[in-house]
Protein backbone atom coordinates (compact mmCIF):
# COMPACT_ATOMS: atom_id res chain seq x y z
CA UNK A 1 0.00 0.00 0.00
CA UNK A 2 1.67 3.16 -1.20
CA UNK A 3 -0.93 5.60 0.06
CA UNK A 4 -0.74 5.46 3.83
CA UNK A 5 -2.78 8.48 4.90
CA UNK A 6 -5.62 9.79 2.78
CA UNK A 7 -8.46 12.18 3.39
CA UNK A 8 -11.42 12.81 1.13
CA UNK A 9 -13.17 16.14 1.51
CA UNK A 10 -12.70 15.97 5.25
CA UNK A 11 -14.94 18.58 6.87
CA UNK A 12 -15.67 19.59 10.44
CA UNK A 13 -18.13 22.29 11.42
CA UNK A 14 -19.09 23.60 14.82
CA UNK A 15 -22.41 25.32 14.32
CA UNK A 16 -21.84 27.95 11.69
CA UNK A 17 -18.06 27.84 12.15
CA UNK A 18 -16.15 25.64 9.72
CA UNK A 19 -12.98 24.40 11.38
CA UNK A 20 -11.90 22.17 8.48
CA UNK A 21 -13.33 22.44 5.01
CA UNK A 22 -13.18 19.65 2.44
CA UNK A 23 -9.55 18.74 2.94
CA UNK A 24 -8.33 16.09 0.53
CA UNK A 25 -4.75 14.99 0.83
CA UNK A 26 -2.68 11.87 0.68
CA UNK A 27 0.60 10.87 2.19
CA UNK A 28 2.66 8.10 0.67
CA UNK A 29 4.75 5.52 2.50
CA UNK A 30 8.01 6.91 3.85
CA UNK A 31 6.98 10.46 3.13
CA UNK A 32 7.25 13.28 5.66
CA UNK A 33 4.21 15.44 5.11
CA UNK A 34 4.47 18.86 6.71
CA UNK A 35 1.06 20.29 7.59
CA UNK A 36 1.52 23.98 7.92
CA UNK A 37 -0.82 26.60 9.27
CA UNK A 38 -1.24 29.36 11.80
CA UNK A 39 -2.76 28.68 15.20
CA UNK A 40 -6.45 27.93 14.73
CA UNK A 41 -6.04 27.12 11.04
CA UNK A 42 -7.50 23.63 11.53
CA UNK A 43 -4.33 21.53 11.91
CA UNK A 44 -5.20 19.91 15.22
CA UNK A 45 -8.82 19.29 14.24
CA UNK A 46 -7.60 17.52 11.09
CA UNK A 47 -5.14 15.46 13.12
CA UNK A 48 -7.80 14.49 15.63
CA UNK A 49 -10.04 13.38 12.75
CA UNK A 50 -7.15 11.28 11.39
CA UNK A 51 -6.94 9.59 14.79
CA UNK A 52 -10.68 9.04 15.20
CA UNK A 53 -10.93 11.44 18.12
CA UNK A 54 -13.27 13.80 16.32
CA UNK A 55 -16.00 12.72 13.94
CA UNK A 56 -15.99 14.54 10.62
CA UNK A 57 -19.25 16.19 9.57
CA UNK A 58 -18.61 14.96 6.06
CA UNK A 59 -15.81 13.31 4.16
CA UNK A 60 -13.56 10.56 5.41
CA UNK A 61 -10.05 9.78 6.52
CA UNK A 62 -8.25 6.56 5.66
CA UNK A 63 -5.16 5.04 7.25
CA UNK A 64 -3.60 2.20 5.28
CA UNK A 65 -6.70 2.15 3.11
CA UNK A 66 -9.02 1.56 6.07
CA UNK A 67 -11.58 4.17 6.98
CA UNK A 68 -10.83 5.74 10.32
CA UNK A 69 -13.48 5.08 12.93
CA UNK A 70 -13.50 6.05 16.63
CA UNK A 71 -11.59 3.64 18.81
CA UNK A 72 -10.20 1.58 15.93
CA UNK A 73 -7.68 -0.68 17.68
CA UNK A 74 -5.90 -1.53 14.42
CA UNK A 75 -5.19 2.18 13.93
CA UNK A 76 -3.83 2.25 17.49
CA UNK A 77 -1.52 -0.66 16.75
CA UNK A 78 0.23 0.92 13.73
CA UNK A 79 0.13 4.58 14.63
CA UNK A 80 2.07 6.67 17.08
CA UNK A 81 0.77 10.12 17.82
CA UNK A 82 1.30 13.28 19.76
CA UNK A 83 -1.54 15.78 19.81
CA UNK A 84 -1.01 19.34 20.99
CA UNK A 85 0.81 19.83 24.29
CA UNK A 86 1.73 16.42 25.66
CA UNK A 87 0.58 15.71 29.18
CA UNK A 88 1.47 12.71 31.30
CA UNK A 89 0.33 11.28 34.60
CA UNK A 90 1.95 13.81 36.95
CA UNK A 91 2.42 11.53 39.96
CA UNK A 92 4.16 8.85 37.91
CA UNK A 93 7.80 8.93 36.89
CA UNK A 94 8.95 9.06 33.29
CA UNK A 95 9.59 5.31 33.18
CA UNK A 96 6.28 4.53 34.93
CA UNK A 97 4.40 6.65 32.42
CA UNK A 98 6.11 4.83 29.57
CA UNK A 99 5.55 1.43 31.18
CA UNK A 100 1.80 2.14 31.17
CA UNK A 101 1.93 2.78 27.43
CA UNK A 102 4.19 -0.22 26.81
CA UNK A 103 1.50 -2.37 28.37
CA UNK A 104 -1.43 -0.59 26.73
CA UNK A 105 0.30 -0.99 23.37
CA UNK A 106 0.57 -4.72 24.16
CA UNK A 107 4.34 -4.75 23.71
CA UNK A 108 6.08 -7.92 24.90
CA UNK A 109 9.54 -6.37 24.77
CA UNK A 110 10.27 -5.30 28.34
CA UNK A 111 13.25 -3.25 27.21
CA UNK A 112 11.03 -1.02 25.04
CA UNK A 113 10.85 1.64 27.77
CA UNK A 114 14.63 1.78 28.21
CA UNK A 115 15.17 1.86 24.45
CA UNK A 116 12.79 4.73 23.81
CA UNK A 117 14.14 6.70 26.77
CA UNK A 118 17.62 6.31 25.34
CA UNK A 119 16.44 7.34 21.88
CA UNK A 120 14.94 10.55 23.28
CA UNK A 121 17.65 11.28 25.86
CA UNK A 122 15.29 10.70 28.75
CA UNK A 123 17.28 8.02 30.57
CA UNK A 124 18.65 10.48 33.13
CA UNK A 125 15.07 11.52 33.97
CA UNK A 126 13.72 7.95 34.20
CA UNK A 127 12.88 8.26 37.90
CA UNK A 128 11.70 11.85 37.83
CA UNK A 129 8.00 12.52 38.27
CA UNK A 130 6.36 13.81 35.12
CA UNK A 131 5.11 16.85 37.06
CA UNK A 132 8.73 17.86 37.69
CA UNK A 133 9.83 17.79 34.05
CA UNK A 134 10.70 20.87 32.05
CA UNK A 135 8.50 21.73 29.06
CA UNK A 136 11.13 20.35 26.69
CA UNK A 137 11.41 17.06 28.54
CA UNK A 138 7.62 16.77 28.79
CA UNK A 139 7.63 17.10 25.02
CA UNK A 140 10.25 14.35 24.78
CA UNK A 141 8.12 12.15 27.01
CA UNK A 142 5.15 12.78 24.72
CA UNK A 143 7.29 11.79 21.74
CA UNK A 144 8.53 8.72 23.60
CA UNK A 145 4.91 7.62 24.10
CA UNK A 146 4.34 8.08 20.38
CA UNK A 147 7.47 6.11 19.43
CA UNK A 148 7.61 3.35 22.04
CA UNK A 149 6.03 0.73 19.73
CA UNK A 150 8.10 1.67 16.65
CA UNK A 151 5.00 2.62 14.66
CA UNK A 152 4.88 2.63 10.88
CA UNK A 153 2.84 5.82 10.92
CA UNK A 154 3.63 8.85 13.03
CA UNK A 155 1.15 11.68 13.45
CA UNK A 156 2.73 14.57 15.28
CA UNK A 157 1.12 17.86 16.18
CA UNK A 158 3.75 20.57 16.64
CA UNK A 159 6.34 18.21 18.18
CA UNK A 160 9.01 20.91 18.40
CA UNK A 161 7.00 23.01 20.89
CA UNK A 162 9.04 23.80 23.95
CA UNK A 163 12.24 22.22 22.66
CA UNK A 164 15.50 24.16 22.60
CA UNK A 165 17.44 24.43 19.30
CA UNK A 166 19.48 21.31 20.11
CA UNK A 167 16.28 19.42 20.91
CA UNK A 168 14.64 20.58 17.69
CA UNK A 169 17.69 19.39 15.76
CA UNK A 170 17.63 15.99 17.49
CA UNK A 171 13.94 15.46 16.80
CA UNK A 172 14.34 16.56 13.19
CA UNK A 173 17.19 14.10 12.67
CA UNK A 174 15.20 11.36 14.40
CA UNK A 175 12.18 11.92 12.17
CA UNK A 176 14.34 12.03 9.05
CA UNK A 177 16.00 8.77 10.07
CA UNK A 178 12.66 7.09 10.77
CA UNK A 179 11.29 8.10 7.38
CA UNK A 180 14.32 7.48 5.21
CA UNK A 181 15.81 4.41 6.91
CA UNK A 182 12.78 2.71 8.41
CA UNK A 183 10.04 3.62 5.96
CA UNK A 184 7.96 5.38 8.61
CA UNK A 185 5.31 7.68 7.21
CA UNK A 186 5.21 10.96 9.08
CA UNK A 187 2.41 13.50 9.18
CA UNK A 188 3.67 16.49 11.11
CA UNK A 189 2.03 19.81 11.78
CA UNK A 190 3.80 23.07 12.41
CA UNK A 191 3.37 26.79 12.07
CA UNK A 192 7.02 27.36 11.11
CA UNK A 193 7.69 26.84 7.41
CA UNK A 194 11.43 27.41 7.79
CA UNK A 195 11.63 24.51 10.25
CA UNK A 196 9.32 22.09 8.48
CA UNK A 197 10.91 22.69 5.06
CA UNK A 198 14.20 21.31 6.42
CA UNK A 199 12.92 17.77 6.54
CA UNK A 200 9.43 17.47 5.08
CA UNK A 201 9.26 15.94 1.63
CA UNK A 202 5.93 17.59 0.94
CA UNK A 203 4.11 20.47 2.54
CA UNK A 204 0.42 21.25 2.73
CA UNK A 205 -0.59 24.75 3.76
CA UNK A 206 -3.89 25.12 5.59
CA UNK A 207 -5.57 28.42 6.32
CA UNK A 208 -9.01 29.00 7.83
CA UNK A 209 -9.68 25.28 7.52
CA UNK A 210 -8.92 25.17 3.80
CA UNK A 211 -5.94 23.36 2.27
CA UNK A 212 -4.73 26.15 0.03
CA UNK A 213 -1.53 24.70 -1.36
CA UNK A 214 0.45 21.48 -1.56
CA UNK A 215 4.09 21.75 -2.56
CA UNK A 216 6.95 19.32 -2.96
CA UNK A 217 9.63 20.83 -0.76
CA UNK A 218 12.23 21.17 -3.56
CA UNK A 219 9.74 23.40 -5.40
CA UNK A 220 9.62 25.83 -2.51
CA UNK A 221 12.73 27.65 -3.63
CA UNK A 222 11.20 28.25 -7.04
CA UNK A 223 8.00 29.59 -5.53
CA UNK A 224 9.74 32.04 -3.23
CA UNK A 225 9.82 35.45 -4.89
CA UNK A 226 13.16 36.78 -6.10
CA UNK A 227 13.93 40.43 -6.81
CA UNK A 228 16.89 42.25 -8.29
CA UNK A 229 17.69 45.17 -5.99
CA UNK A 230 19.63 48.07 -7.44
CA UNK A 231 20.87 51.27 -5.85
CA UNK A 232 22.45 54.24 -7.67
CA UNK A 233 23.24 57.87 -6.89
CA UNK A 234 19.93 58.87 -8.47
CA UNK A 235 17.36 56.10 -8.53
CA UNK A 236 14.68 58.23 -10.22
CA UNK A 237 16.99 58.84 -13.23
CA UNK A 238 18.08 55.22 -13.19
CA UNK A 239 14.43 54.13 -13.30
CA UNK A 240 13.85 56.33 -16.40
CA UNK A 241 16.95 54.92 -18.09
CA UNK A 242 15.78 51.37 -17.43
CA UNK A 243 12.25 52.14 -18.63
CA UNK A 244 13.63 53.59 -21.85
CA UNK A 245 15.11 50.15 -22.43
CA UNK A 246 11.74 48.50 -21.64
CA UNK A 247 12.86 47.32 -18.21
CA UNK A 248 10.16 47.74 -15.62
CA UNK A 249 11.53 48.74 -12.24
CA UNK A 250 9.76 49.77 -9.09
CA UNK A 251 10.99 51.75 -6.12
CA UNK A 252 10.68 49.93 -2.80
CA UNK A 253 10.11 51.46 0.63
CA UNK A 254 13.87 51.79 1.11
CA UNK A 255 14.04 53.94 -2.03
CA UNK A 256 15.87 51.21 -3.94
CA UNK A 257 15.10 50.01 -7.44
CA UNK A 258 13.38 46.64 -7.56
CA UNK A 259 13.18 44.48 -10.68
CA UNK A 260 11.11 41.30 -10.80
CA UNK A 261 11.78 40.22 -14.41
CA UNK A 262 13.02 36.60 -14.15
CA UNK A 263 15.41 36.92 -17.12
CA UNK A 264 17.12 39.95 -15.57
CA UNK A 265 17.28 38.26 -12.15
CA UNK A 266 19.25 35.47 -13.85
CA UNK A 267 21.39 38.04 -15.77
CA UNK A 268 21.83 41.10 -13.52
CA UNK A 269 24.85 42.12 -15.61
CA UNK A 270 22.46 43.43 -18.27
CA UNK A 271 21.13 46.04 -15.83
CA UNK A 272 24.61 46.88 -14.55
CA UNK A 273 25.97 47.41 -18.09
CA UNK A 274 23.04 49.62 -19.06
CA UNK A 275 23.46 51.84 -15.99
CA UNK A 276 27.25 52.04 -16.29
CA UNK A 277 26.91 53.06 -19.96
CA UNK A 278 24.45 55.77 -18.88
CA UNK A 279 26.98 57.19 -16.37
CA UNK A 280 24.90 56.00 -13.41
CA UNK A 281 26.83 52.99 -12.17
CA UNK A 282 25.06 50.95 -9.48
CA UNK A 283 26.49 51.29 -5.98
CA UNK A 284 24.67 48.12 -5.00
CA UNK A 285 23.18 45.29 -7.04
CA UNK A 286 22.04 41.97 -5.61
CA UNK A 287 19.35 39.31 -5.92
CA UNK A 288 17.05 39.26 -2.89
CA UNK A 289 15.19 36.03 -2.21
CA UNK A 290 12.00 35.93 -0.19
CA UNK A 291 12.44 33.87 2.94
CA UNK A 292 10.17 30.94 3.69
CA UNK A 293 8.22 32.70 6.42
CA UNK A 294 7.42 35.58 4.09
CA UNK A 295 6.38 33.09 1.43
CA UNK A 296 4.11 31.32 3.92
CA UNK A 297 2.54 34.56 5.14
CA UNK A 298 2.08 35.75 1.56
CA UNK A 299 0.45 32.43 0.62
CA UNK A 300 -2.09 32.62 3.42
CA UNK A 301 -2.74 36.27 2.64
CA UNK A 302 -1.28 37.79 5.79
CA UNK A 303 1.50 39.61 3.95
CA UNK A 304 1.73 41.04 0.44
Amino acid sequence: MDEVIRTEKLTKKYGSFTAVSEISLNVRKGEIYGFLGLNGAGKTTTIRMLLGMIKPCSGSAYINGKKVSPGDTELGRNTGYLVEIPYSYPELTVSENLEIFRKLRLLQDKTAVDKVMEKLNLTQYANRKASHLSLGNSQRLGLAKALIHNPQILILDEPANGLDPAGIFEIRELIKDLASNHGVTVFISSHILGEISRFATRIGIINDGVLIQEINTPELEILCKKRLIVNTENNADAKSILENSNIIAGINNQNQLEITDEKLILNPGVVATLLVNSNLPPSMLFVSEEDLESYFLRTIGVKN
Binding site: R48, L51, D72, T79, V83, E84, S88, Y89, E96
Partner: protein, 260 residues
Protein backbone atom coordinates in the same frame (compact mmCIF):
# COMPACT_ATOMS: atom_id res chain seq x y z
CA UNK B 1 -9.05 -10.90 28.56
CA UNK B 2 -5.38 -9.95 28.27
CA UNK B 3 -6.37 -6.48 27.13
CA UNK B 4 -8.72 -6.06 30.09
CA UNK B 5 -6.00 -7.22 32.49
CA UNK B 6 -3.57 -4.75 30.95
CA UNK B 7 -6.09 -1.91 31.21
CA UNK B 8 -6.86 -2.81 34.84
CA UNK B 9 -3.12 -2.87 35.57
CA UNK B 10 -2.70 0.56 33.98
CA UNK B 11 -5.62 2.05 35.90
CA UNK B 12 -4.41 0.55 39.17
CA UNK B 13 -0.95 1.97 38.56
CA UNK B 14 -2.37 5.44 37.98
CA UNK B 15 -4.44 5.50 41.17
CA UNK B 16 -1.93 3.74 43.40
CA UNK B 17 0.56 6.54 42.91
CA UNK B 18 -1.94 9.36 43.29
CA UNK B 19 -2.22 11.39 46.48
CA UNK B 20 -5.99 11.15 46.35
CA UNK B 21 -5.78 7.38 46.87
CA UNK B 22 -4.09 7.81 50.25
CA UNK B 23 -6.36 10.73 51.19
CA UNK B 24 -9.54 8.67 50.68
CA UNK B 25 -8.20 5.95 52.99
CA UNK B 26 -7.30 8.54 55.62
CA UNK B 27 -10.86 9.94 55.43
CA UNK B 28 -12.45 6.50 55.61
CA UNK B 29 -10.27 5.71 58.66
CA UNK B 30 -10.91 9.06 60.33
CA UNK B 31 -14.71 8.81 60.17
CA UNK B 32 -15.03 5.56 62.19
CA UNK B 33 -12.41 6.91 64.60
CA UNK B 34 -14.66 9.91 65.24
CA UNK B 35 -17.69 7.66 65.57
CA UNK B 36 -15.75 5.54 68.08
CA UNK B 37 -14.78 8.66 70.01
CA UNK B 38 -18.40 9.79 70.16
CA UNK B 39 -19.51 6.36 71.28
CA UNK B 40 -16.87 6.43 74.00
CA UNK B 41 -18.08 9.82 75.17
CA UNK B 42 -21.69 8.64 75.23
CA UNK B 43 -20.56 5.74 77.37
CA UNK B 44 -18.78 8.16 79.68
CA UNK B 45 -21.07 11.22 79.92
CA UNK B 46 -19.05 12.64 82.85
CA UNK B 47 -16.01 12.85 80.59
CA UNK B 48 -18.04 14.48 77.82
CA UNK B 49 -19.43 17.02 80.26
CA UNK B 50 -15.97 17.81 81.59
CA UNK B 51 -14.65 18.32 78.06
CA UNK B 52 -17.76 20.24 77.00
CA UNK B 53 -17.69 18.49 73.65
CA UNK B 54 -21.19 17.10 73.14
CA UNK B 55 -24.50 17.04 74.89
CA UNK B 56 -24.77 14.11 77.20
CA UNK B 57 -28.46 13.66 76.52
CA UNK B 58 -27.96 12.73 72.89
CA UNK B 59 -28.90 9.20 72.04
CA UNK B 60 -27.16 8.93 68.71
CA UNK B 61 -26.32 5.28 69.22
CA UNK B 62 -29.67 4.13 70.60
CA UNK B 63 -28.90 2.40 73.88
CA UNK B 64 -25.17 2.91 73.36
CA UNK B 65 -24.80 -0.75 72.53
CA UNK B 66 -23.61 -2.70 69.50
CA UNK B 67 -27.08 -2.57 67.92
CA UNK B 68 -27.08 1.24 67.90
CA UNK B 69 -23.41 1.51 67.00
CA UNK B 70 -23.54 -0.89 64.04
CA UNK B 71 -26.75 0.71 62.81
CA UNK B 72 -24.95 4.06 62.70
CA UNK B 73 -21.95 2.48 60.96
CA UNK B 74 -24.33 1.15 58.32
CA UNK B 75 -25.88 4.58 57.86
CA UNK B 76 -22.43 6.12 57.62
CA UNK B 77 -21.46 3.55 55.04
CA UNK B 78 -24.47 4.49 52.92
CA UNK B 79 -24.15 8.26 53.20
CA UNK B 80 -20.38 8.59 53.26
CA UNK B 81 -20.24 5.87 50.63
CA UNK B 82 -22.51 7.87 48.36
CA UNK B 83 -20.17 10.86 48.56
CA UNK B 84 -16.92 8.92 48.83
CA UNK B 85 -17.69 6.48 46.03
CA UNK B 86 -18.97 9.35 43.92
CA UNK B 87 -15.77 11.26 44.55
CA UNK B 88 -13.64 8.24 43.63
CA UNK B 89 -15.60 7.66 40.42
CA UNK B 90 -15.48 11.35 39.53
CA UNK B 91 -11.72 11.31 40.00
CA UNK B 92 -11.10 8.13 38.02
CA UNK B 93 -13.16 9.31 35.06
CA UNK B 94 -12.62 13.05 35.33
CA UNK B 95 -8.90 13.23 35.98
CA UNK B 96 -8.07 12.03 32.45
CA UNK B 97 -9.86 15.15 31.20
CA UNK B 98 -8.58 17.50 33.87
CA UNK B 99 -5.02 16.24 33.29
CA UNK B 100 -5.40 16.34 29.49
CA UNK B 101 -4.34 12.68 29.24
CA UNK B 102 -7.63 11.50 27.74
CA UNK B 103 -6.30 11.83 24.18
CA UNK B 104 -3.52 9.36 24.98
CA UNK B 105 -5.94 6.53 25.72
CA UNK B 106 -8.29 7.01 22.77
CA UNK B 107 -6.30 5.45 19.93
CA UNK B 108 -4.61 2.38 21.34
CA UNK B 109 -4.65 -1.34 20.57
CA UNK B 110 -6.78 -1.63 23.73
CA UNK B 111 -10.26 -0.41 22.85
CA UNK B 112 -12.08 2.41 24.58
CA UNK B 113 -14.74 -0.07 25.75
CA UNK B 114 -12.11 -2.10 27.57
CA UNK B 115 -10.49 0.96 29.14
CA UNK B 116 -13.90 2.11 30.31
CA UNK B 117 -14.66 -1.33 31.79
CA UNK B 118 -11.25 -1.32 33.51
CA UNK B 119 -11.97 2.10 35.00
CA UNK B 120 -15.28 0.84 36.43
CA UNK B 121 -13.66 -2.33 37.80
CA UNK B 122 -10.85 -0.38 39.45
CA UNK B 123 -13.24 2.21 40.88
CA UNK B 124 -15.40 -0.62 42.31
CA UNK B 125 -12.34 -2.24 43.85
CA UNK B 126 -11.17 1.08 45.32
CA UNK B 127 -14.62 1.81 46.77
CA UNK B 128 -15.00 -1.68 48.22
CA UNK B 129 -11.58 -1.35 49.83
CA UNK B 130 -12.72 1.92 51.39
CA UNK B 131 -15.84 0.22 52.71
CA UNK B 132 -13.76 -2.61 54.13
CA UNK B 133 -11.52 -0.07 55.87
CA UNK B 134 -14.64 1.55 57.34
CA UNK B 135 -15.90 -1.87 58.44
CA UNK B 136 -12.59 -2.96 59.94
CA UNK B 137 -11.78 0.29 61.75
CA UNK B 138 -15.28 0.80 63.13
CA UNK B 139 -15.45 -2.79 64.40
CA UNK B 140 -11.99 -2.61 65.92
CA UNK B 141 -12.79 0.69 67.64
CA UNK B 142 -16.07 -0.75 68.93
CA UNK B 143 -14.22 -3.70 70.43
CA UNK B 144 -11.50 -1.49 71.88
CA UNK B 145 -13.89 0.83 73.70
CA UNK B 146 -15.89 -2.15 75.00
CA UNK B 147 -19.39 -1.53 73.70
CA UNK B 148 -22.03 -3.71 75.33
CA UNK B 149 -24.31 -6.21 73.66
CA UNK B 150 -22.02 -7.98 71.16
CA UNK B 151 -23.37 -11.05 69.45
CA UNK B 152 -22.00 -13.04 66.54
CA UNK B 153 -25.40 -13.15 64.83
CA UNK B 154 -25.80 -9.41 65.17
CA UNK B 155 -22.37 -8.87 63.68
CA UNK B 156 -22.80 -11.29 60.75
CA UNK B 157 -26.18 -9.69 59.91
CA UNK B 158 -24.49 -6.30 60.06
CA UNK B 159 -21.66 -7.39 57.76
CA UNK B 160 -24.10 -8.72 55.16
CA UNK B 161 -26.15 -5.49 55.26
CA UNK B 162 -22.98 -3.43 55.19
CA UNK B 163 -21.56 -5.20 52.12
CA UNK B 164 -24.86 -5.22 50.22
CA UNK B 165 -25.37 -1.55 51.02
CA UNK B 166 -21.88 -0.79 49.63
CA UNK B 167 -22.60 -2.84 46.50
CA UNK B 168 -25.89 -0.98 45.98
CA UNK B 169 -24.02 2.33 46.31
CA UNK B 170 -21.51 1.15 43.69
CA UNK B 171 -24.35 0.92 41.18
CA UNK B 172 -24.59 4.70 41.34
CA UNK B 173 -21.11 5.05 39.85
CA UNK B 174 -22.15 5.05 36.20
CA UNK B 175 -24.12 8.34 36.28
CA UNK B 176 -21.08 10.01 37.89
CA UNK B 177 -18.80 8.56 35.21
CA UNK B 178 -21.15 9.86 32.54
CA UNK B 179 -21.25 13.38 34.01
CA UNK B 180 -17.43 13.36 34.36
CA UNK B 181 -17.14 12.60 30.64
CA UNK B 182 -19.82 15.01 29.58
CA UNK B 183 -18.35 17.84 31.63
CA UNK B 184 -14.76 16.80 30.79
CA UNK B 185 -13.56 16.94 34.38
CA UNK B 186 -14.42 15.98 37.92
CA UNK B 187 -15.90 19.16 39.38
CA UNK B 188 -19.32 18.85 37.77
CA UNK B 189 -19.38 15.15 38.65
CA UNK B 190 -18.67 15.91 42.32
CA UNK B 191 -21.33 18.62 42.22
CA UNK B 192 -23.70 16.05 40.79
CA UNK B 193 -22.94 13.66 43.67
CA UNK B 194 -23.71 16.35 46.27
CA UNK B 195 -26.86 17.35 44.40
CA UNK B 196 -28.16 13.77 44.23
CA UNK B 197 -27.47 13.33 47.93
CA UNK B 198 -29.62 16.36 48.70
CA UNK B 199 -32.32 15.05 46.36
CA UNK B 200 -32.13 11.68 48.12
CA UNK B 201 -33.04 13.41 51.39
CA UNK B 202 -36.01 15.15 49.75
CA UNK B 203 -37.14 11.95 48.10
CA UNK B 204 -37.29 10.31 51.50
CA UNK B 205 -39.38 13.17 52.89
CA UNK B 206 -41.70 13.11 49.88
CA UNK B 207 -42.09 9.36 50.08
CA UNK B 208 -40.68 8.27 46.74
CA UNK B 209 -37.32 7.26 48.19
CA UNK B 210 -37.79 3.55 47.36
CA UNK B 211 -37.87 4.51 43.69
CA UNK B 212 -35.23 7.20 43.70
CA UNK B 213 -31.92 5.46 42.88
CA UNK B 214 -29.76 7.67 45.09
CA UNK B 215 -31.95 7.04 48.14
CA UNK B 216 -32.15 3.26 47.78
CA UNK B 217 -28.75 2.28 49.31
CA UNK B 218 -29.48 4.53 52.30
CA UNK B 219 -32.92 3.05 52.82
CA UNK B 220 -31.46 -0.44 52.60
CA UNK B 221 -28.82 0.45 55.20
CA UNK B 222 -31.37 1.94 57.62
CA UNK B 223 -33.73 -1.04 57.17
CA UNK B 224 -36.72 0.72 58.65
CA UNK B 225 -40.30 -0.50 58.46
CA UNK B 226 -41.57 3.08 58.49
CA UNK B 227 -43.86 4.20 55.69
CA UNK B 228 -41.97 5.38 52.61
CA UNK B 229 -38.77 3.67 53.72
CA UNK B 230 -39.48 0.10 52.70
CA UNK B 231 -37.75 -1.13 49.57
CA UNK B 232 -39.48 -3.27 46.97
CA UNK B 233 -38.11 -5.61 44.33
CA UNK B 234 -38.81 -2.84 41.85
CA UNK B 235 -36.50 -0.55 43.88
CA UNK B 236 -33.56 -2.82 43.10
CA UNK B 237 -34.61 -3.03 39.46
CA UNK B 238 -34.64 0.79 39.30
CA UNK B 239 -31.12 0.86 40.71
CA UNK B 240 -29.82 -1.77 38.29
CA UNK B 241 -31.50 -0.03 35.35
CA UNK B 242 -29.89 3.25 36.42
CA UNK B 243 -26.47 1.63 36.42
CA UNK B 244 -26.93 -0.13 33.09
CA UNK B 245 -28.44 2.82 31.26
CA UNK B 246 -25.75 5.26 32.42
CA UNK B 247 -23.03 2.71 31.70
CA UNK B 248 -24.31 2.48 28.13
CA UNK B 249 -24.55 6.27 27.89
CA UNK B 250 -20.96 6.58 29.12
CA UNK B 251 -19.87 3.97 26.58
CA UNK B 252 -21.65 5.87 23.83
CA UNK B 253 -20.08 9.13 24.92
CA UNK B 254 -16.57 7.64 24.94
CA UNK B 255 -17.06 6.20 21.48
CA UNK B 256 -19.01 8.93 19.74
CA UNK B 257 -18.25 12.27 21.33
CA UNK B 258 -15.71 14.65 19.84
CA UNK B 259 -12.63 14.43 22.05
CA UNK B 260 -10.94 17.82 21.97
Amino acid sequence: MRKLNVAIWAETRKIRKSKIFIITFIVFTFIPLMMGLMMYLFQHPELAEKLGIIGTKAQMFGDNDWVGYLSLVNQANASIGLIGFGFVTAWIFGSEHAGHTMKDILALPVSRNIILAAKFIVSFAWCMLLSLVLLFVSTTIGLLIGIDGWSDTLFSDFVVRFIVSALLTLLLASPVAYIAGLSRGYFAAIGFVVFTMILAQFSGVLGFGPFFPWAIPGLYAVASDAEGMVLFTSSYIVLILTFVSFYLLTLRWWNNADHH
